[in-house]
Symmetry: C2
């Protein structure tokens, strides 16, 4: 199953009405390993759909987030980035160039149990963001 077929299937499965714009946005996010913001997504989709508006980009992104097909990364910057992989995973941020890469580290189950006992919260999950300097910026 190629990516176009897969995005089509995902959208239908979640009961999201399929439009060419949404397909293109989801497909783009599944392709790239950068974590683009709305503006970057807009710029790319516009090469295929010259008339698309930024409002539609935001509408689509919000819908895809709500339905769990993508995730929003709202870590510190003034804007959000979007990640085509909805599964929980960590991110490493370069403090120099602001690049964000995925990191699949060990699960912190012990820590969650401990926190739950100490805090009284019912812990559902966590978000871990590692900070550092990427190889390209270390010169």
């Amino acid at each position: 199953m190629d990516v176009t077929q897969e995005t089509l299937y995902l959208l239908k499965e979640k009961g999201i009405r399929v439009t060419p714009q949404r397909q293109a946005i989801l497909e783009y996010l599944k392709h790239v390993d950068t974590h683009p913001n709305a503006e970057e997504i807009y710029a790319h989709i516009r090469t295929k759909f010259a008339g698309i508006s930024l409002g539609t980009i935001y509408n689509s992104l919000n819908m895809l987030c709500d339905k769990g097909l993508i995730q929003e990364l709202a870590y510190g910057d003034t804007f959000s980035r979007f990640d085509g992989n909805p599964m929980p995973h960590d991110h490493i941020v370069c403090d120099v160039c602001r690049k964000v890469v995925d990191y699949h580290g060990p699960l912190l189950d012990n820590l969650l149990d401990l926190a739950q006992q100490e805090s009284g919260f019912a812990i559902k999950g966590y978000r871990l963001e590692l900070h550092g300097v990427c190889p390209a910026c270390q010169n």
Copy 2:
């Protein structure tokens, strides 16, 4: 040394010009264990300085952040929260009422080493945000 003396000392030590507004903001953040946003800080400081403006609140908060006296928590909401404790520590967020509490968990040194080897990044630190439901919202 009381809190007023301490904030005075901290400001001078960092070479920050001391103004009553800044002292009040820093003192307030050192006192409270909530993690207020700019608007809440504004509302509180205004009870002492009727004429203070929101612009000054933001200016002061940015300066205090830059100098490392407080930290900004920009986790997901449309606005930032501020924490009077600049030392690294984790936070637990209630997904229902959005309350944020501090959590001093075990350090993730092993995980940082591992991530550094696998990613090639020079890892400097991390931010961990636990999500769940606070005791008051569990009913």
